[in-house]
């Protein structure tokens, strides 16, 4: 019978399994590595639609549209209950105009222009980045776009998830 003895009595740490695990994690992370300068985290209140577009997001004023609220930046400007509850925010004489949203966008536009006055190198374009829930009806979307257009925003980036 053959017996093997470790005369020093030390336990040798087995690193092979750990390196295997780290290598797999490393490969996975390398695959998901992003070098994009501008990152947008989608809101957890909405489900974005899928798209084949490969165009990266650019800097702009962020609007989140769900079936219960509209927020500009971090501020909630409109909140309602029910599917058509947002219609209470419409202007009495114009069914394509949301005064609350228009005011908020105007303020954002002024802030951007003020920034540009301070630093000429900042090239501020009046761009809106819209995060809209995929089940939103076109009525709300066109009302928001019409209002934003009246506030001077004509360039819209509709945020989607890459397919």
């Amino acid at each position: 019978m053959i017996k093997r003895r470790n005369e020093q009595g030390q336990y040798l740490l087995q690193l092979t399994s750990m390196v295997d695990m780290f290598t797999i994690i490393l490969v996975f992370l390398l695959k998901s590595y992003s070098t994009s300068a501008y990152q947008i985290t989608p809101s957890d209140q909405i489900t974005l639609p899928l798209s084949e577009s490969q165009q990266d997001p650019e800097e702009g004023v962020k609007i989140i549209v769900s079936n219960q609220l509209v927020s500009v930046g971090d501020a909630v400007v409109m909140q309602w209950q029910g599917e058509s509850g947002w219609k209470k925010f419409l202007h009495k004489k114009n069914d394509r105009f949301l005064p609350v949203l228009h005011n908020s966008l105007n303020e954002q536009g002024k802030q951007s222009e003020a920034l540009q006055e301070i630093n000429d190198k900042i090239n501020v374009k009046k761009r809106l980045v819209l995060q809209i829930d995929k089940n939103t009806s076109y009525v709300l979307l066109k009302t928001i776009m019409a209002t934003a257009s009246l506030a001077g925003f004509n360039d819209f980036n509709l945020l989607t998830l890459k397919e």
């Binding site: 053959i2 690193l15 590595y33 939103t136 009806s137 076109y138 066109k142 776009m145 257009s149």
Partner: protein, 162 residues
């Protein structure tokens, strides 16, 4: 009983994984910080400038305009207009109650080829069409790969009227 002596071959050594592990452990936190859970993209869309605020009255050199009408019954109509007069009309019927995206793409290619000077598509969705469906249709008619086989720009032309 015969004794068997096992001797270690002095030329074989265990592989030293410590430096490799050190490198991997350094890389993983860096990559974790730049890890993206969601890969987002944007669909560029334009709107017509409001008539009251149109700052430039550039002459519209394009004679023709191509419209894409999305109806509530998921039927699609391509309209080619020359100064509000309909020159061509193509209807794409729905497929299983949904927009027939394959047919929409093929018709868009045909129209783009026929009226190659028109690079913008005027979209007219109905109120009952959902945002998800609009995005799907835009994907199919917009030139993502810059091949000039489809349209460069999509404009929501009925946000003020219709």
């Amino acid at each position: 009983m015969r004794r068997v002596r096992i001797t270690k071959n002095p030329e074989t050594e265990d592989l030293d994984l410590a430096p490799m592990l050190a490198m991997i452990v350094s890389l993983i936190p860096i990559l974790l910080m730049s890890f993206t859970f969601y890969h987002t993209a944007v669909v560029d869309a334009k709107v017509p400038a409001p008539a009251a605020k149109a700052t430039s009255k550039k002459k519209d050199e394009v004679k023709y305009k191509v419209y894409l009408q999305l109806n509530d019954d998921r039927q699609v109509m391509f309209l080619v207009k020359q100064k509000e007069k309909v020159v061509s009309k193509v209807t794409v019927t729905s497929k299983a109650g949904q927009f027939d995206l394959g047919k929409i793409t093929s018709e868009a290619r045909i129209l783009r080829k026929k009226w190659s000077e028109v690079a913008k598509l005027q979209m007219i969705p109905s109120d009952g069409v959902s945002y998800d469906e609009i995005i799907q249709v835009i994907d199919k008619v917009k030139d993502q790969k810059k091949t000039s086989e489809l349209y460069d720009e999509v404009i929501f032309s009925n946000i003020f009227k219709g």
